[in-house]
Amino acid sequence: MDYLYTDEQRMLVSSIRAFVEQELRPHEAETDQLGYVPEELGKQIVKKALEMGFYAANLPEEIGGGGLDYASLALMEREFGKTTYGLHGFVHRPSEILMACEGDQIEEYLLPCVRAERKEFFALTEPGAGSDIMSMQTRAERDGDDWIINGSKHFISSPVQADFAILFAITGIEETPRGPRKQVTAFLVDTGLEGFAIERGPRCAAQRAYRTFQLSFDNVRVPHGKILGEEGKGLDLAGKWLKMGRVWVAAGCCGKAERLLGLAIEWAASRKQFGQPIGKFQGTSFKLADMATELRAADLLVMNAARKADLGIMEDDDAAMAKLFAAEMVGRVADNTVQIYGGMGLMEDLPVERLWRDARLDRIWDGTSEIQRHIISRSLLRPHGA
């Protein structure tokens, strides 16, 4: 697919590939076993990422970001997808929602995030509100010039504990022609505020070196000036970036699948049974053919979505199709790779079992496969009034 890339994109890919191979991959197995990335290593990755200009590559150049277009970012995410999120997470792509910062918020939140001095949690999901975000219970109530926040969030992930949360909370009910609708507002809430407790979440089977946290808010008081964007417009603000997030997950799936396919080919060509390489059996070789073909298709869906985003014409279903297909594709590729490796595919000495576990998450986060199908089918049926 190189023919689709510009010279700059080709160079970017080879630089990131070298960065991933030299700085991240050597630590994969160890950090997966540990269940976290040691502090010093994390700091070292951040430092190198800053030097290379990979940190905050998604944010505009004017504020110190990398200023990459969506197609280049997709290629970047694809390369990072080949390693684990625990390590990749340190080469942070701050939430683009922070671009809505205004006034003092710019110096306090946006710019320190670009410089890796501060880091944010993106806190949307709750124990009772996963796919169904509107069942959110966390609420903020006005008290003079302040807001009082109560509720809890879970599955809020970050490689390290963040410095503040971009928190989504209910701030009112709006009457619409289709009935009452909760109004959601985004707040910038510093950790360390009274009543804001953070607990480490349970261990996860996938992306073990990455962390999830549970955040709970017990009468946490924040000034009105901590509202990000407009009151009641939190989800509109998040919407565009949630959509792009799906494209980044899809791109990462393609990278992971490429790595798995490479491992599968190597094994199929060298492992011998019944006097010949197992790749000579169609049971194996046809698997490889399907894996490669599906990977190509997923790559094209990702490029389609990213390029349309660059042109400002990406639709909900472009991102949803890329996320759905790529996440399911990498699941099949990972499963087939384990099968081709036989018992060795499940042994911790090789990276296959880890990639297989990691790939499982991609069908769940940033919108499950079912939710992506829901988005796609809605875009098909809505014009017909259904």
Partner: protein, 249 residues
């Protein structure tokens, strides 16, 4: 001091090389191409000379098809200042490349030329030496350490029986060995800056160089497959096998 670096576009070192079915050469269609790794070392060394204040301008030259400009861009993204592409579709052999580089050197008058000791495609290991001869300049080949000082350069060379330290007068041609440095990968800001750096294009005709091959390739074949070894029980059995089976002693 101006430093000229020669960079060649070759099949990526990760690619498994395949011989064409008609044995006329190796398969290059649809194969990933990259900068020759020894040339990356040359570019890195030149950048370090610039960072140390010894060099002030780095010019990257590539000779080959139009796509060789990608290789020049990579050198520019690493830190070279400008590029020269000698564009030709002709088959190039070391003597022709050395002559073309000489023509560029005559125009550019660099204080040093840094080249990779060999390119990983045909491993000829000739161009640097031929260029030095054509220019009548000293040559410091297989450098694993390079320290220029006033009008000279001291280098450590990797030779068969160890390390040899020599001093050459500048201008000179230096060829790089594997352990000279570890090349950097380009940072995002430098990749973006490379887009704006100039690449001049010229041709062998414009440089007045005849690139007609002097060697003819008759047949290209895969190296024979190595047969599996055999573990022997003891020295006596080894000697017996060498004597009676392999018949080498």
């Amino acid at each position: 001091m101006k430093v000229l670096i020669a960079v060649k576009r070759v099949i990526d070192f990760n690619v498994k090389i395949r011989v064409k079915s008609d044995n006329s050469g190796i398969e290059t269609a649809n194969v990933k191409m990259s900068m020759n790794p020894f040339d990356e070392i040359a570019v890195e060394e030149a950048i370090r000379l610039k960072e140390a204040g010894t060099a002030d301008e780095l010019v990257a030259v590539s000779i080959g098809t139009a796509q060789s400009s990608e290789t020049i861009r990579t050198a520019l993204a690493m830190g070279a200042d400008r590029g020269i592409l000698v564009e030709t579709d002709a088959e190039l052999q070391p003597l022709a490349v050395a002559k073309l580089l000489k023509a560029i050197v005559d125009k550019e008058n660099p204080g040093m030329v840094v080249v990779g000791k060999q390119a990983i495609d045909d491993d000829a290991n000739q161009t640097g030496q031929m260029l030095a001869a054509l220019l009548g300049w000293p040559q410091g080949t297989f450098a694993s350490k390079l320290e220029p000082a006033d009008g000279t350069a001291t280098l450590v060379r990797e030779v068969d029986d160890g390390l040899q330290t020599i001093q050459v007068k500048l201008p000179a041609v230096i060829s790089t060995d594997l352990r000279l440095n570890e090349p950097r990968y380009a940072s995002l800001p430098n990749i973006m800056k490379a887009k704006k750096k100039p690449i001049d294009t010229t041709t062998p005709d414009e440089l007045g160089v005849d690139v007609t091959p002097r060697l003819e390739t008759i047949n290209v074949v895969e190296p024979p497959v190595r047969e599996a070894g055999e573990i022997v029980a003891d020295a006596a059995q080894l000697i017996d096998k060498l004597k009676n089976e392999a018949k080498v002693i």
